[in-house]
């Protein structure tokens, strides 16, 4: 019972991965469809996708940091 926080951390990390995967997946799908419709705009679309992609990844990594904090600080 004293290690219940580890169970919570595991669950939380799984949820973080689901969230990040879904979000980045939707970005990639929209980008691919945009490039398919207009191959000339491929550079602009890639540039527009870059920023939200890394913001989302940053959110996932932030969550990972707090999860690690919970494990280490008990």
């Amino acid at each position: 019972m004293e290690n219940l926080h580890l169970f919570g951390v595991g669950l939380g990390l799984g949820l973080i991965v689901i969230g990040a995967g879904l979000g980045i997946g939707r970005l990639a799908a929209a980008a691919a469809e945009g490039i398919a419709r207009q191959p000339e705009a491929s550079d602009k679309i890639t540039g527009a996708v870059n920023l939200p992609l890394f913001l989302l990844e940053g959110v996932a990594i932030l969550g990972e940091v707090f999860a690690l904090l919970i494990v280490l600080m008990k």
Binding site: F54, E57, I61, V65
Partner: protein, 315 residues
């Protein structure tokens, strides 16, 4: 990795107990009580040199020798034509200036803001990259096997300089204090950018664009002020966590060998786990190289975007 030298520092316990502490020890700064070079306190601030401070200096010297000095020599020539390394630097600078600084800041201010963005990029790139090189582990192995200096038993203080270099991680940007320093520069750069373009008071008035219904302002202004602090905070945590996380992943996978060997009390298990663990650690190191480049690019891009948002307020 010099796990034997480090395991002798944690007294007793099975491998499973020591592994977590070992990994954290390997990515964080060296102990603040036993710095590398003891320097006096000035006005209450301890100026002693810890591992990360030493790595900061090494990275600074590296950037100066590879980027700053060649550029200065190149610019002093009569009709400069880039060759070799200068070509690489020119390609990188052109890429950053034309696709990161210029679209965000606008053509009028490119020359004002390009230097700081370029400094961010080169410093973070070199700092991240140096963290991937196992220089100190090779030095430690050299110390142990060639010069035959062993780590002292736990409890005894280590006076050998090279052995003391082994404590702590080599990735400077994995320390959130370092990245907080970089983000503070961005924080003030945003304010300076807004103040220089629009005037000091107008920069703060631009937080709340005119022409909205007045109840919106009650929510908008606290959100904007919180956002002003959250954006640099996210910058620091993103860079620090990405760097530390990658190293922890590599170290954890390499620790599998020790864990499994200890769990089954046989060396054969340990060696056969190595057949799985070492290729996977190599693959993740490859991924780390991509992350190194990407994180330098992202920090630079976001700083440029925030500075651009303070200059052109029309979104």
């Amino acid at each position: 990795m010099s796990k034997a030298a480090e395991q002798s520092h944690t007294a007793g316990g099975s491998v499973l107990d020591q592994v977590g502490e070992n990994i954290i020890h390997h990515v964080s700064n060296s102990s603040l009580d036993h710095p590398l070079i003891q320097l006096p306190h000035i006005w209450g601030i301890d100026l002693s040199v810890s591992k990360h401070v030493l790595m900061l200096w090494i990275v600074a010297v590296l950037v100066a020798c590879s980027v700053i000095i060649p550029i200065r020599k190149y610019l002093q020539q009569d009709k400069p034509q880039p060759k070799g390394w200068m070509n690489v630097i020119e390609a990188v600078v052109k890429f950053i200036r034309d696709s990161i600084v210029q679209p965000n800041v606008g053509s009028k201010h490119v020359d004002t803001w390009a230097p700081i963005i370029l400094t961010f990029f080169f410093f973070i790139l070199f700092a991240n990259g140096v963290g991937l090189l196992p220089i100190f582990d090779i030095l430690g192995a050299f110390n142990r096997f060639i010069l035959d200096i062993h780590a002292p038993p736990p409890g005894v203080e280590d006076h050998n300089f090279i052995n003391s270099l082994l404590h702590g991680g080599a990735t400077v940007t994995g320390n959130f204090n370092v990245t907080a320093g970089l983000a503070t520069i961005t924080f003030f750069a945003i304010m300076v950018a807004g103040s220089r373009t629009h005037g000091f008071i107008n920069h703060w008035k631009n937080l709340a664009p005119p022409g909205l219904a007045w109840p919106v302002y009650i929510i908008l202004i606290p959100i904007e002020i919180i956002g002003m602090f959250v954006k640099p905070f996210a910058l620091t945590m993103r860079l620090a966590a990405n760097m530390t996380g990658g190293h922890i992943a590599i170290l954890a996978i390499l620790s599998f060998m020790a864990i499994f060997a200890d769990m089954f009390h046989s060396t054969v298990t340990g060696i056969s786990v190595a057949l799985f663990s070492i290729p996977m650690a190599t693959a993740i190191s490859g991924l780390e190289i991509i992350v190194v480049l990407v994180q330098a690019y992202v920090f630079t891009l976001l700083s440029a975007v925030f500075i651009g948002m303070a200059i052109n307020v029309h979104h």
